[in-house]
Amino acid sequence: MAPVNATQRSGGFQAVGRRQGRLQVRIARYVAFAVVVSLAVSAVALIAGRQRSLERSLERSARTYAALASPQLADMAEVFRSSGGRLLRQRMARLLELNSDVVRLEVVDVQGRVHLRWEDGESHTFPDSETAPRVEDPVLLGALQELDISARRLSTDGGDRVYRVVAPAVEQWGRHAFSVIATFSYASADREILTSVLWSGMLLAVGLALSFLVAAILARPITRHVEELRGGARRIADGRLEERVQVSSGDEIQELAEAFNAMADTLQQTIGQLRAAYRELESLDQAKADLVANFSHELKTPLTALRGYLELLADSSLGPLSPEAARAVAVCEKNVARLTRRIEELVALSQLEKGPASDLIREAVAVEALLHGVVDTVLPRVEEKRIACSLDLAADLPAVVGSAEHLERAFLNLLDNAVKFTPDGGSIRVAAEAHEQGDRPGVLVAVSDTGVGVPVGEQLRVFDRFYQVDPSARRLYGGMGLGLSLVRSIVEAHRGTVWVESEEGQGATFFLWLPSRPPDSGTVPVVSAE
């Protein structure tokens, strides 16, 4: 058991080992994320503010421009009626050079009719009042009639965001014939904002990388302590219980290490106590086995004399017996035999509860021969109780690896048990077949009886030592409750399993599974059972 656990433990820690440095990366990632988020928030706020301020400044200069430009433009509209378009174009070009954001200038009368338009470096005049374009926007139309400078923002003008200003041109004698609509583009402001956004993005990327690196470097001392802690835990888990974790970080990790060390102290102490207790138990167990061996010798010596003389009496070697005396001698013989069996059971159990010595489990044992043998052994009692006994063995039974002597004892005990609990006239069936358990090939032996059965709650306990389903069963059926526990000891020493299925009052079936090949065996010479 122990090596398996150790493997599992170290396997678990190897998985942890592959995660080395993850904590550091995680801390760095969180810090970098936090830095980038705060940078991004400030960048967005700054850029939004900058955009607003650029727009305000554009709008302010647009209104000033419009106010200053409108009288001149209105004059030009008047002049244009008399002079040629060349002078107009020159003056318009000069006006337009004053502000690079202005994309269009229009001279409009108070009815909304466009007289003059300057756009994309070209001037257009609309002398015919029928074909001239008109201002449709009601807000602009309303503004055209006012004397105050009016401004409004429009976002749709060929896709660009634009800002429109309506500026009235009032002549010296107070006539308000024309207004000027100046259209300004936000394109240059937008370009500037876009540049700011791109720069901010680059700065964010650099900030991300830098903060990740810095955080990783700063996190190193923390994660180093954690790694030390983990290394110590791994060493202790690998069984080096005297190992302690040395962490002096002065923070919670050190506290954790101290708590861990305290746990290791307790663990070491407890395991030490357990080992001592186990050694003591082992020596007690040995003492008990020795006691049983010596005691059985002490019991068998008088039994030898008893059995010998009883048999001499029974076969009349010592003179003829009266029928009554012969009967008395037969009873004595039967009880001596019973006593002998019990002692053998006890001895076998005391030897086997440690598991039969593993060097005994080495022969290839033919199960069918053993089963035939034990059925023959119980046959006199089976016939006496008029029990129908059937033996049902599959043809292709593999040999199991084990100790024929011990396996014979196990089968005999199962069968003894069945005979004991099956009432007169009942039936017993012994079956065996090849059967895989997990991936392991093996032989499954089933012994079914028609006896009292085993209650569900008791089905695990029947294999305990000195266990009887019903305390009164001892008087009724005899025995010490050792037979089945012996079966279990033997089967477990063979790395097999044994269990019972039963409904109370419906009889019971005892299953006994034995592996047909040990986990690491070459060829095993076949030894047929005696």
């Binding site: 010798h297 010596t301 010998g308 048999e311 005994l360």
Partner: protein, 127 residues
């Protein structure tokens, strides 16, 4: 008449063995002490030695070893009769030079048969 020497530290058991064997018509000698038995057996080797294993002064296995080491005792058939059961002990006795092994408590019938076999009075058939 075949001479059988019985060694067992329990007088009741030597008496029983004597009774059983004398009925069969053998000449029986007994000893309850290992050392005494070894000296007597070596002095005058019997046709068969019936030997107990667990004895206080000289253990049966040790007696067997000493006997087999002696040229006079090397050929004496030895039937071990012991309260120790189990293959392990049987195997050990046979390796030390025992000719046969019988577990206590034994059946007199079985003992008689084993004795006849070891003395060559009955063929091995049917075992």
């Amino acid at each position: 008449m075949k001479r059988v020497f019985v060694v067992d530290d329990e007088p009741d058991v030597t008496d029983l063995l004597r009774t059983i064997l004398e009925v069969e018509g053998y000449e029986v000698e007994t000893a309850t002490d290992g050392r005494d038995a070894l000296a007597r057996v070596m002095e005058e080797p019997p046709d068969l030695l019936v030997l107990d294993l667990m004895m206080p002064s000289l253990d049966g296995l040790e007696l067997l070893r000493l006997l087999r080491a002696d040229p006079g005792g090397a050929a004496v058939p030895v039937l071990v009769v012991s309260a120790r059961s189990g293959h392990q002990h049987q195997l050990e006795s046979l390796q030390r030079g025992a000719s046969a092994y019988l577990c206590k408590p034994f059946s007199p019938r079985e003992l008689r048969r084993q004795v006849r076999l070891l003395l060559g009075l009955e063929a091995e058939a049917g075992v």
